[in-house]
């Protein structure tokens, strides 16, 4: 994990220290550390001259700004209607079996976190999932197996 203070300074240099810089900075922290910790939020507040509550308020509003530790690869399976109709359950089951965790959990080696999410915008090719920022659509058990096997090797 990157040291939070230096990371925040780096991000603040890039995005500025305005209130409107807050979201890009939080997004930068989550992308580097996979979550934003309480200490990190306090540090951001100091850097941008905001109250910790303001930072906390924004951070906890957005579902992609994780405020608890996540694995290196966060898997988000779409659970909205058309993906659900086209076999989302099987996809989640396959992932749970392969990773030996339930939805909402992280593998003990901190490599994978499995989550469900709302509409990802791949309704015509459902079921779909995101692994970090990369979308995968038209999923089948076999396809999921291949994708995850590749990530396990990484």
């Amino acid at each position: 994990m990157t040291d939070c203070k230096s990371l925040i300074q780096e991000l603040a240099e890039k995005y500025g220290r305005e209130r409107s810089s807050l979201l890009p900075i939080l997004q930068g922290v989550v992308s580097a550390n996979h979550y934003v910790s309480d200490t990190c939020m306090t540090d951001i507040a100091k850097e941008l001259d905001l109250s910790a509550a303001q930072v906390y308020g924004t951070a906890t509003f957005y579902s992609f700004l994780d405020t608890e530790p996540r694995g290196e690869y966060v898997i988000r399976v779409c659970k909205t209607i058309t993906c659900d109709m086209h076999g989302k359950k099987t996809i989640v089951q396959t992932l749970e079996d392969m990773l030996k965790i339930k939805v909402g959990e992280t593998t003990p080696n901190k490599k994978f976190t499995l989550l469900e999410t709302n509409c990802l915008g791949w309704c015509h090719e459902g079921p779909a999932m995101l692994i970090n920022d990369t979308p995968y659509s038209g999923l089948t058990s076999e396809k999921v197996h291949d994708i995850i096997s590749e990530y396990i090797q990484k």
């Binding site: 409107s20 939080l26 700004l65 709302n118 309704c123 015509h124």
Partner: protein
């Protein structure tokens, strides 16, 4: 109702002009009055779903005094069943940037933002490359209008324009009270035009074709074409550009699997149309409007499960700011589960309908107000499925 059929169009996704940013260059030579008049004549209405006349939005913003104004492109496409903006940004980003730049000229803004949903972050590298090309051309044309991409982070509500501004300003994505409208107080409380991705492309096409040719597409109330996102029980899911004002039965003939029971028009916040009403339903502002989402359900689907899925979606995506929406979504979900389990009598559905109607009147923004659309259209048309 006039006899309309299904007509495929190739306006939005049509090829670029052979010279990069040619239409933008010629449009920049024209007066703002001319551009606004053409937009007005074209009859263009916003493509995000609400359908506000684009020319009026631009005119009001242009008329609001102030040196600092903004153009925002709403690419926070989150409505279930919608994926057309992603396709537009993937295939014709140049048209979107041109549309934004034209808006910048008309209202006198120097800065534009594209608010892209977090789920589409994978598109950023390509968009940044395209933006560099845009900025190069804008510089050559001596036109001072820059565009920056801002990312969302997984919140449906940020597609609501004032919530989107709050998010861009670094806050929670909670909608503001209206008025004031964005035309006077938008991003950073400055006059702002915020339009959907597809709307900006339509603007460019009107500038290229002229309003007369554009008006030939569609009906009196719904001019032009529309990009539809077709999904669900269909052998041919995908993106289709069709003329507005088509009857739903023609749509089902083309896209259904022969066993279509219902079509959800406009996503989870839109209306569910049952088979018996296909013939009398027109897709457009005069009938059932849509931001493009068309989800098809066949007779193997339980409409209870469909509604349950929508309500879970709304319950999670409600920002929680106003009570009607926060509590209403929870209670509607709990209510249909209780009726299904037999814990409440069927007549309880009437209570829930009243609740959804109250939400329509009292919720602060479009999210809470539109839950009643799908709720009442599903409960009314498929009551047995809710109970047994």
């Amino acid at each position: 109702m006039s006899e309309q059929t299904l007509k495929r169009v190739d306006l939005i996704f049509g090829e670029y002009s052979n010279e990069k940013y040619k239409v933008l260059a010629t449009t920049l030579e024209r007066t703002n009055e001319e551009i606004l008049q053409e937009l007005l004549d074209s009859g263009l209405r916003g493509r995000g779903g609400a359908g506000f006349p684009t020319a009026m939005k631009w005119k009001y913003t242009a008329e609001t005094p102030g040196d600092e104004k903004y153009v925002v492109c709403n690419a926070d496409e989150g409505e279930p069943g919608t994926f057309k903006d992603r396709e537009i940004l993937y295939r014709v980003p140049r048209k979107v940037f041109s549309g934004m730049a034209i808006c910048g000229k008309v209202i006198g803004a120097k800065k534009g933002y594209m608010y892209l949903r977090g789920e589409y972050k994978f598109m950023v590298p390509e968009l940044v490359k395209e933006l560099a090309i845009y900025h190069e051309h804008a510089k050559k044309l001596g036109f001072d209008f820059t565009i920056e991409i801002r990312m969302g982070s997984g919140a449906y509500i940020c597609g609501e324009e004032s919530a989107l501004f709050e998010s861009m300003e670094g806050g929670r994505g909670e909608p503001r009270n209206k008025p004031p409208y964005p035309t006077t107080s938008g991003f950073m409380k400055k006059p702002t035009v915020i339009n959907n991705v597809e709307t900006f492309v339509n603007v460019l096409m009107i500038m290229r074709l002229g309003p007369d040719q554009y008006r030939k597409l569609g009906t009196t109330d719904s001019r032009g074409s529309k990009v539809f996102s077709v999904s669900g029980d269909t052998p041919i899911p995908g993106i289709y550009e069709l003329e507005l004002g088509m009857p739903l039965d023609k749509f089902v003939d083309e896209f259904g699997d022969g066993d279509t029971k219902a079509v959800q028009v406009g996503g989870a916040s839109g209306f569910c149309v049952p088979r018996k009403k296909f013939k009398d339903t027109v897709i457009g502002f005069e009938g059932v409007p849509t931001g493009g989402s068309m989800m098809i359900f066949n007779s193997s689907r339980s409409m209870y499960n469909v509604l349950h899925n929508y309500l879970e979606f709304f319950e999670e995506e409600s920002c929680g700011q106003c009570t009607p929406c926060r509590v209403g979504c929870q209670q509607l979900l709990k209510g249909i589960v209780a009726v299904k389990k037999g814990e409440k009598k069927a007549i309880y559905l009437d209570q829930l309908m009243k609740l959804s109607e109250s939400m329509k009147i009292t919720a602060k923004c479009g999210l809470g107000q539109s839950v009643a659309n799908s709720f009442s259209s599903i409960v009314n048309n498929f009551k047995e499925e809710m109970i047994y």
